[in-house]
Symmetry: C2
């Protein structure tokens, strides 16, 4: 039954992956019935390990499958012709990566593991097939893509109208909410990314991130020590977002 578990290969074949997965309420199977999830099991049965610093795929690679984060943490980056690049997202367990590739059959971003990670491979042609059969899966998949669009609009808003403090507060609150939804502490967590990566995502320089962290700490909003963050005053952080001069 679980013969694969003992072989230390990077791609494993497992049974009943989605049905028994603790992330199923956050991931692709969200809102599906147990019978429907079982259908997904026939589709999503391959996992892949990605070591810290390794890429899952790179911009320009042919697109063949979506990837769900099983464990670990990823970042996605776009690169401009002149070499400038920007982090466009961070991905944690249960989140789907690779939606950008559907439109052109090629990935437009590079996705890199920020710690040793594991992803579930979702072959895209088979997902289309199955969602053609299972209405609720189709519907769920559409919602997922739509939410990605809304998320991106939120980031556009952040980059277009917010000041540095507001951006970082929004970022911390977003992480807090996502960790909380996954059963981790929403007020105490380790950042997996560097100050530079946070800055790139927020359209700021790493020095500004560092200074703003220090300022938040002075104000008693958070405690930071290296990558470890504890949110001391959630309401205070939220207040920063609701207009203040």
């Amino acid at each position: 039954m679980d013969c694969a578990k003992t072989t230390p290969v990077s791609i494993q074949q497992l049974k009943k992956v989605c049905s028994t997965c603790s992330l199923r309420e956050l991931c692709l199977p969200m809102g599906l019935s147990p019978e429907e999830i079982e259908q997904l099991d026939h589709l999503v049965y391959t996992r892949k390990r990605v070591k810290r610093g390794e890429s899952l795929y790179r911009a320009g690679d042919p697109f063949t499958s979506l990837n769900a984060v099983r464990t670990g943490f990823f970042k996605s980056t776009v690169v401009l012709e002149d070499g400038r690049d920007q982090v466009t997202g961070f991905h944690m367990p249960g989140e789907i990566m690779g939606l950008d590739g559907i439109g052109t059959d090629r990935h437009t971003v590079s996705t890199i593991a920020l710690e040793d990670s594991e992803v579930c491979i979702i072959p895209y042609s088979r997902l289309e097939e199955l969602s053609h059969k299972v209405r609720s899966l189709q519907s769920q998949f559409h919602k997922m893509m739509s939410r990605e669009i809304v998320r991106d609009q939120g980031v556009m808003m952040l980059l277009g109208t917010m000041r540095a403090e507001e951006r970082l507060a929004a970022f911390l609150l977003n992480l807090s909410q996502r960790f909380g939804a996954r059963g981790y502490s929403p007020t105490e967590f380790n950042l997996r990314m560097t100050r530079e990566e946070i800055g790139s995502y927020l359209g700021l320089k790493l020095e500004t991130i560092s200074r703003t962290f220090s300022k938040f700490q002075e104000q008693g909003l958070i405690t930071v020590r290296q990558k470890h963050v504890r949110i001391e005053d959630l309401k205070g952080l939220r207040r920063l977002l609701g207009r203040e001069c």
Copy 2:
């Protein structure tokens, strides 16, 4: 046959809307066979007129249908709690609006006509039904959503890493490309939006837009007079994007 044309109502019932539409190669039917497009005709048969300044839908409205721009020009805006808002996109004929509403059954942006316009209403539940039957429609619809995600990432890049001149050059080149794809001149067109709306979209103030337009004109890159723009040096504008100090 065309009895509806004589009644001056804002919602018209027409036959064969998609099959005979000149925009079909740019719009939802892109890549579908004539027979498949005919199936769409049963779905998309209602048009709606929206006068300049009127909203098609507002953030918070229940989501029931997507809308394809038939004629005219629209903008979408997000509003923050504190009242600050930002333009997240401009929409021209053949483009689909409302994808943001699928995820939550409510619109997250407000979409407003920038000139007297007409849209084709695409009832969403019926689109899901039909794309469940017609594989190529399903596939096409997924690509459309994915491209929207990629487009948004492009704007994030613009807002996160580009300077004012680069942003405006990218904006003009984008408009140029889209007008060109619709059979209009890619080098001479009328802006439908104000300097303030351009600024909001690009994360800049209206004065900066105005100054940068003037600078482009001095450099011989464009000629602007009010809303009328003529691109004099397409390559020069492109060069602005490929790094320059």
